[in-house]
């Protein structure tokens, strides 16, 4: 029944942890964009150095950053292989039906470096920002979209409620599972179809309970005068401090640098 940590937040006290979530979100976007702007070795080296500096600033042990690569490792390898073998161009080597071209090699390397830096870069954001702060930040950042009738507040409320209920529902799944095992259910043997079928006695009570909870929660929210985002104040409003403006400045400089690299083809 361990609390699953969503978004892998790593609690410690660094300057990156204390930055406004909006800055970190924008910074991450800018970093990702720059990765696709630069295309030469110098550019990638700079991006890697920037990442390294951020990791040091965040005080998060490097292995946590590497751990973020685990889920995409397979995709990364497959993408690289496809690029390596399927790009037409000047042939470097071949065996059987596979040909490796110079263009393919360059593309595969570029793709691999980009993806790796992208994932590690965004993991710095999720490692240093609580999911709650991130939701708050996104709500504020996207609030102009309210003008075109995007329910920004509602989406953010949904996200934070999901964050609150995921551990509760995980625990409940565990309980139901044990209860069904005690009644002779078998979740761990048989083929795929059989296993999927064996999930039904787990999912049905889980859904019933989730709907009841949703109903209760909606009522509790109404009872406490919740009526959407209009006329609502905030207990912990986001406010920019000096360090946040500094971070924005550095982000802007980084973007400018990336554009220069792009133009120069470095």
């Amino acid at each position: 029944m361990g609390e699953i940590s969503l978004g892998q937040y790593y609690p410690t006290n660094s300057i990156l942890h204390r930055l406004d979530p909006r800055v970190k979100f924008i910074g991450t976007i800018v970093y990702i964009v720059s990765l696709f702007l630069v295309s030469g070795p110098v550019g990638y080296l700079c991006a890697a150095l920037a990442l390294f500096a951020l990791v040091l600033l965040s005080k998060v042990p490097f292995r946590f950053i590497l751990k973020s690569m685990k889920p995409i490792f397979f995709i990364l390898i497959v993408t690289m292989l496809f690029n390596l073998f399927l790009t037409p161009g000047e042939e470097l080597a071949h065996f059987l039906i596979f040909r490796i071209t110079r263009e393919g090699l360059v593309l595969a390397l570029r793709m691999g470096i980009r993806l790796a830096l992208l994932v590690m870069g965004s993991s710095i954001m999720t490692l240093t920002t609580t999911p709650n702060a991130l939701t708050d930040g996104m709500e504020r950042l996207f609030s102009p979209l309210k003008l075109i009738k995007v329910p920004v507040h509602e989406i953010s409320m949904m996200m934070s409620i999901a964050l609150r209920f995921i551990p509760i529902l995980t625990e409940e799944t565990d309980k139901i599972k044990k209860a069904q095992i005690a009644r002779g259910a078998d979740f761990d043997s048989g083929g795929l179809i059989k296993r999927l079928k064996s999930m039904i006695p787990l999912l049905v009570p889980l859904f019933v309970s989730a709907f009841r909870r949703a109903n209760d929660l909606a009522m509790a929210m109404e009872a406490r005068c919740y009526h959407g985002g209009t006329g609502r104040t905030q207990m912990k409003p986001l406010t920019y401090a000096k360090k946040d403006y500094c971070a924005y400045l550095i982000t802007a400089l980084f973007l400018a640098l990336a554009i220069i690299f792009r133009v120069k083809g470095w």
């Binding site: 509790a220 009872a223 406490r224 005068c225 609502r232 905030q234 207990m235």
Partner: protein, 291 residues
């Protein structure tokens, strides 16, 4: 004393849609309820499952609007849509399941949820949250995740969430039903303190008879109607009638009742162990003399 809650001829039908018939089926949950609650009092509502307690409670908070009759909260008719938020601010509500009513992922954010909805300025929200958390004795837990609290603590957080809205009256719908005896005691203590120290009107719905002994006035419901009302002593004096309504009296009351039936000279509706001991004391002295 001025009344805070008043109901006259209150009735409510749930409309149910079934697969078999096209027509909606109407289930009468409560009918012809008259109720007057004075400011600052502690009211208990008793009744077995399905007797309509929750339905009545939801009317006080304007979560339900009466099908017939009228409900007033501090003089405001709850059926008036434009006063909906005023009613809900004046009459807060605490529900049975502590997990399903905590919205925030951090304790103090949850307590701040109500004031945020009321549009209270940020600085005042903080002072309200501090105040509410200290009143329920949870100030030390303000930065915790609600998932790591015990049931009784979660319920106290839920109460703080209501207290922070500065209500006149708090309705608690079986707040202790899912708690262990310790949690139950914590919650009841907090409720009593709010009532006695802060003068908040309390309406406690429960089926634990021990919790009723603190009430100034008790209403007993059955099949959607109020069938008995009076002080706890008056109610518990009618043990047979309570049994008919599928309710039990507290253990001491039951014991006193049985002793009395067996010929002991005891008053009606004994509420506490001390009372019973006092009533029995003269005789136990006699026995002590003999021994």
């Amino acid at each position: 004393m001025p009344s805070i809650i008043k109901a006259r001829g209150l009735g409510f039908d749930y409309v149910k849609y079934t697969d078999e018939s096209e027509n909606a089926e109407r289930v009468t949950a409560i009918r012809e309820i008259d109720l007057t609650v004075e400011k600052g009092t502690f009211i208990a509502i008793l009744g077995h499952n399905g007797s309509g307690k929750s339905t009545l409670a939801k009317h006080i908070n304007a979560l339900l609007v009466p099908t017939s009759g009228t409900m007033w909260v501090d003089g405001i008719d709850t059926a008036k849509e434009q006063d909906l938020w005023k009613v809900r601010q004046k009459a807060g509500m605490v529900f049975q399941n502590p997990d399903n009513q905590i919205i925030g992922t951090v304790v103090d954010e949850d307590v701040g949820f109500g004031p945020e909805n009321l549009g209270i300025p940020t600085k005042d929200i903080w002072s309200r949250v501090d105040d509410a958390l200290s009143k329920v004795g949870m100030l030390g837990f303000r930065d915790r995740s609600p998932n790591h609290l015990s049931g009784g603590q979660k319920q106290r957080v839920a109460i703080a969430g209501v207290v922070a809205m500065h209500p006149e009256c708090i309705v608690l719908d079986e707040p202790t039903a899912m708690l262990d005896p310790n949690g139950r005691r914590e919650v009841i203590e907090v409720i009593r303190e709010l009532n006695q120290r802060e003068g908040v009107t309390v309406i406690l719905i429960t089926h634990y008879m021990e919790e009723v002994t603190y009430a100034d006035h008790v209403y007993v419901m059955d099949a959607g109607q109020v069938v008995m009302e009076g002080t706890p002593r008056e109610i518990f004096a009618q043990a047979e009638r309570l049994k008919e309504l599928r309710l039990s009296v507290p253990q001491v009351t039951e014991l006193a009742y049985e002793l009395k039936k067996a010929g002991a000279d005891l008053p009606d509706g004994v509420l506490t162990i001390d009372e019973l001991v006092d009533a029995l004391a003269p005789r136990s002295e006699q026995y002590a003399d003999r021994a």
